[in-house]
Amino acid sequence: MMYDFMLAWRNIRNRPIQALVPIVVVALAIALSVSVIVVADATQEGIIDASDPFGMLVVGRSGSGQELVLSSVLLQGVPIGNIPYSVYEELANDEVRVQLAVPLAFGDNVNGARLIGTDRNFLELRSSQFAPPAFQVVEGFWFDDEGSFEAVLGWEAARQLGLTVGDQFRSIHGVGRGIAENQHTERYTIVGILGRSNTAYDTAVYTQLESMWNAHEHEDDNHDDGETPFTIGRVELQEVGGAAERGEVTAVLVLPTGFSEQIQIAQQFYLDPTLQAAFPGQELSELIGILNQGQQALNLIGYLVLGIAGLTIFLSMYSAILARRQALAIMRSLGSTRLSIFRMTIFETLLISLIGAILGRILGYGLAMAFAYVFSIQNAIPMPVRFLWDLEAVLWILSIGVGLLAGLIPAWMAYRVNVVDNLFSS
């Protein structure tokens, strides 16, 4: 059997170009499937990891719960609006039902990095009860809640902005670069830098709520002529939700004291026409569900390409057997059995399929890693690419199945080669 395998390998080496085409097609098919599944897994893991420390509930302006969670947990998209600061105060003072409440005020950015107004409670966020705090100051210190225009940089923000403790910056209106190029006059002083948390919050800059409110008040004072800070020329740029003004926050992250308390709080806000409480887990699960539908569609394409790959192997082997009939007849005349010839042909298609499958894995994981890298840079959500052992069994079975199916007819042709007719044919 090993000898048949060696001969199959020799046959492939002897016709590298003809063998390369089906190998490449198999590799592309496997790469497509692998990259889609691995990217989907990494996205899912990335979203789950990135949302881990942010509590069980997010309270914000009524509207789409998914948008609220996306904007306040994953820092994606534009916040849907602001809510009174008193909502936060009520939650923070509700010691019976609320273990932790963290205010978040959005509306400004620092060269594209979101500026988030919050307080010291932010440092209490953690992924589970006994886990260490998700956000820890690694350089300098966290600002004094009573202080003014002090800022702390997220790990990635410090790297991207090239700022460090002691540096100063001026914020710009809007949650993202390009929404409004309207710079505030106040200068923030950086007092600390946070360690890496592997969440989107690594890309943010933090300051006191009071400082954000003050910045916006001064901005309004500077525009007493009636022109809004978001008007450039005659075009008014609409900033969805707007920046949190004095007495407002954009969202409150809430960690209830227990499950029943969590339900109570959710029901309380469910009845409120202007507020909502969204469950990050639920909203993100729905989002992942939508992503999975897309993944399934791409998987179908992957299977289709794999089918085409099988057809390519078949055609390649079919023509190879036609061209090799005399060699097969010689082998038979030297004592090779029909079964041995059949086995050699199947080994050849299997080898083509398996080489393609291995290359496909390398290509697929490479593509997935490249995509994850670009995605994490663009969206600040780390995407952990994992080797999916569960996927291996399916992929190997598929690869072997395709190789076997594609090889059956050519192997049968080889099996039935007429020795005498082909031995003496020119």
Binding site: R10, A327, I330, M331, L334, G335, R338, V419
Partner: protein, 230 residues
Amino acid sequence: MTLQLTGINHQYPSPLGKPRQILKDINWDIKGGSQILLRGVSGSGKTTLFNIIAGLMQPSSGTVTLDGTDIYGLSESKRDRFRSTHIGYVFQTHHLLPTLSARENVVMPMVYGKRFPQAEHKTRAEFLLEQVGLDSFGNYLPRQLSTGQRMRVAVARALANQPMLLLSDEPTASLDEESANQVMDLMQSIAEKEKAILLVSSHDPALMTRFTQHANLAQGHLAVQEVTPS
């Protein structure tokens, strides 16, 4: 050890409807160590007879018995193996496998025949190549060898399993005189040494003096005659 052909008849289908009888009631006993030249014009059935003897083509009727074994009484797979271990066949065109080196071509019948342990295959192949004067060409692919060298590799391959019957179909047809003599000397000396039957089919007049037994195939009938070397 003998080769016995009993009542061999063979016919090919004809487009005109009536089958064409190519071999007619051939009975032939050949003793071990015999060296016989099979003669006949083109189309007389020499190659058909060789293929039948080699177990590659079942005759329309009759039996072929080699060393007491009815070749066509064996299953196909057993016959394949029997051919590998008992019969060496040198074809008119060398029929070396182009993807394998000279040594690997010689090893192939040993792998299928399983007469020698696997560990000995390489050594034996090198020994056989040395016998045919190609000891330094083991790693060469057939396309890197001359026509005469290829034929010598084919002879070495045919001898791989120490066959008791060596068939050679028009061995000199594609060779120059010098190469033809080398190949014939080689086959005859090795067959003599191994006490194997050597059957050579040819209509090359130059070979006539090399054999004391001639078998003439004409009109489907075989006539064997002893000749005196000139």
